[in-house]
């Protein structure tokens, strides 16, 4: 029996930890700012930008702090509540409104975003202001295993594929005897069902963000795309599999034909020479109603309470500048640079994957990731209820309608 923190102590500790902010005295000409992010595959690129920034700004030191995604927001929130947030930190469009409204982040300069695709910037506007400077885009992609396609005599996916092509190929690639599956269907919004909901003519949120779109016919069809593959067509493993083994790892076992994944998976797949040689990607297949992919961008936010606003703002701006974006791209990390025309370095870093085709084929149909003020709250409802559909306990359409009802209750309170 190991010692566990008593429950009351847990809260107490959190309060205590949030109370100890750093208050180092400012030394002239020697400023240190902290920079927090979660993706370790992007850390080397960030470090290169830091080096260049420090060179151009003598006397300023940027300290990199990496916190894994699972703990990133919890930690940031606790720090922010105690007024001790990092000076500059990664922000996602999912959380930006809450941080802006809470007075944690400072407004950013619009003029620094000329040269960015609107879909990458839009998510960071709230209340008439821009709150963070985008630096990277994450695009969903259809990854496929060439080896399995060859073995089954199926033609590789192309940018012109439709849902029907996916289904047909998945059927041919599935072989229960070999425990081989045509496709994976993890319950995933960003790279998965948000895209198919849009492609079938549905939507996650109404245009004004006040109503749920989950009960629309197109949305239901977009969700059924996934549950059908798994439950009706049986060309994907059952939902429980992904709890035990992450899709990212499962795909590398060589027993999965296709995967709705992300552009940022490139870093992981390229790190394994055997996997690198047998996988590639294309833009997401077209749906019955339209083309459409969720373009999620990441951005740098500056703390409203930073002791060095000038340096922190300058660093965030440098990250989004032509020079910063080229360094980011050339480093070949996890994400694609956001500023138009700076992507070549990234393509070159992953010559085995058709990332150029993905970027150019996806961006024209980009739709921003759906967010409201408290996105996490209704996403929690979405994720909890969808489990019933994914495990086949209840019809997908019923579940989708339930989500809409509960989501509307939450949205009404925002």
């Amino acid at each position: 029996m190991r010692k566990r923190l008593p429950i009351a102590g847990l809260l107490g500790l959190a309060l205590l930890a949030s109370g100890c902010g750093s208050s180092e005295p400012e030394k002239s000409g020697n400023v240190e700012i902290s920079y927090a992010l979660w993706e370790k595959n992007d850390a080397p690129a960030a470090q290169k930008i830091i080096d260049a920034f420090q060179k151009a700004n003598p006397g300023v030191t940027v300290k990199l702090e990496i916190t894994p995604w699972d703990q990133y927001w919890t930690k940031l929130q606790t720090a922010a509540a105690g007024g001790a947030a990092p000076d500059v930190f990664w922000m996602s469009s999912l959380n930006v409104r809450m941080y802006a409204k809470g007075g944690v982040i400072a407004a950013a300069d619009e003029s620094k975003t000329t040269g960015f695709t609107p879909a990458t910037v839009a998510g960071y506007r709230y209340d008439g202001k821009l709150w963070a400077l985008p630096f990277s885009v994450s695009l969903p992609a259809l990854w496929y295993d060439k080896k399995l396609f060859d073995a089954a005599g199926v033609k590789y996916p192309t940018a012109d594929w439709t849902w029907d092509d996916v289904k047909a190929a998945a059927k041919k690639l599935t072989d229960p005897a070999k425990k081989q599956w045509g496709i994976m269907t993890p319950m995933w919004d960003q790279g998965g069902f948000y895209n198919t909901m849009i492609q079938a003519g549905g939507r996650v949120l109404s245009a004004d963000g006040k109503k749920s779109g989950f009960d629309e016919a197109g949305s239901i069809q977009g969700l059924e795309f996934w549950t059908d593959l798994m439950i009706k067509d049986k060309v994907a493993p059952q939902a429980q599999v992904y709890n035990d083994t992450e899709p990212l790892q499962l795909f590398q076992t060589g027993k999965i034909g296709m995967q709705y994944g992300g552009s940022w998976f490139a870093a992981t797949y390229a790190a394994n020479p055997e996997v690198k040689s047998r996988v590639d990607l294309v833009p997401l297949p077209k749906g019955p109603a339209q083309e459409g992919v969720i373009v999620a961008s990441l951005a740098n936010a500056v703390s409203a309470k930073t002791e060095h606003p000038k340096e922190a703002t300058a660093f965030a701006a440098f990250f989004a500048s032509e020079e910063g974006q080229k360094i980011f791209s050339d480093a070949g990390g996890a994400s694609i640079s956001a500023r138009e025309g700076t992507q070549d370095g990234f393509y070159k870093a992953y010559p085995d994957f058709n990332l150029k085709g993905l970027f150019e084929g996806s961006m024209p149909h980009g739709v921003e990731y759906p967010v409201t003020l408290d996105t996490a709250k209704w996403q929690d409802v979405q994720n909890k209820l969808l489990v019933d559909a994914w495990t086949g306990k209840r019809p997908t359409a019923d579940v989708a309608k339930d989500i809409a009802v509960k989501m509307n209750e939450i949205l009404a309170k925002e």
């Binding site: 429950i7 107490g12 959190a14 309060l15 929130q77 606790t78 809470g102 992904y242 709890n243 489990v387």
Partner: protein, 291 residues
């Protein structure tokens, strides 16, 4: 002289008492206060009275978490006799490799919970885990231990029991060795067999230790969090069947930033532990023999 002594007494317990006050009593008071408020995401509270508690009473997830936690505690208690058996075996005099066995059984106690959780998560893996591969070798199609809501809590309790055997066994071992030898000698002269000796001497004289172990096991079981957090994914489909009260507290307080609501959960758990422990102390008069 008397008051001087008293002063010294207070001075000597001051470090402990201060620590308790700062790290336990004050946070409990704070938690109690927070449970009547709704907190902003980045701090700041508004008084909402009993709203959190009424919402909690109607929350299906809370009911589920309560059920899961109580079931887990019951399973953990069911595992206590195992520790007595292990302790009895470790108490056999002249057993070869005694030190080795004691180390083996105690190892889980001193292993980091994170390591324990991750190792078991790997063992339980439905497709690639050693447990299911062993089962497959004898023709059994193993379940998704930690992804199936119907099996999850049992899988969790198995890890819990496994990791608590060593600690409990040490307590029982101490209890066993505290039983005077001459009771057994007397019993032998009276013609009592081994089994009779165990039930008539060992078990009754072990009851103070058993009582202690049961109380501690229950309190710890009701507060289980680390194993759930480490073995289950945040989006695991098994969570409805594996969510414990403290995990629910974590979800509400740290993932959804409803700290007031989370505080109410903590207060309910505190009350639950208090009541169950009080009942145990009441009942002990009926079965615990202090020699």
């Amino acid at each position: 002289m008397k008051s001087r002594e008293r002063l010294w007494g207070y001075a000597l317990i001051a470090p402990m008492a201060l620590g308790l006050a700062v790290f336990y009593v004050w946070p409990i008071a704070q938690t109690l206060y927070l449970s009547f408020t709704e907190s902003g995401v980045f701090g700041g509270q508004t008084w909402v009275g009993l709203d959190n508690y009424t919402a909690l009473a109607a929350d299906e997830e809370m009911t589920g978490a309560l059920g899961n936690t109580l079931l887990y505690a019951a399973l953990m208690l069911a595992g206590v006799p195992l520790s007595i058996v292990v302790a009895a075996l470790l108490n056999v005099r002249g057993l070869r490799g005694l030190g080795f066995y004691r180390t083996i059984y105690f190892l889980p106690v001193v292993t980091m919970p994170a390591a324990v959780g991750l190792t078991w998560r790997y063992l339980y893996n439905g497709d690639f885990g050693p447990i299911n591969q062993l089962l497959a070798a004898v023709g059994i199609d193993g379940p998704y231990w930690v992804a199936d809501p119907d099996v999850a809590i049992y899988a969790l309790a198995l890890v819990g029991v496994w990791s608590s055997i060593g600690y409990n066994a040490v307590l029982f071992l101490a209890g066993l060795q505290g039983i005077p030898r001459h009771y057994y000698e007397a019993a032998e002269i009276d013609g009592a067999g081994r089994l009779r000796q165990f039930f008539r001497i060992t078990l009754p004289l072990l009851t103070p230790t058993t009582f202690f172990v049961i109380v501690i096991t229950m309190i710890n079981a009701l507060q289980v969090f680390d194993l759930v957090y480490l073995i289950f994914d945040l989006k695991s489909p098994a969570l409805p069947g594996a969510r414990t009260i403290v995990y629910f507290f974590f979800e509400q307080g740290f993932l959804k930033n409803q700290r007031g609501y989370a505080a109410a959960i903590a207060v309910v758990l505190l009350g639950l532990i208090l009541v169950l422990t009080a009942i145990q102390f009441r009942l002990q008069k009926r079965w615990v023999h202090y020699a």
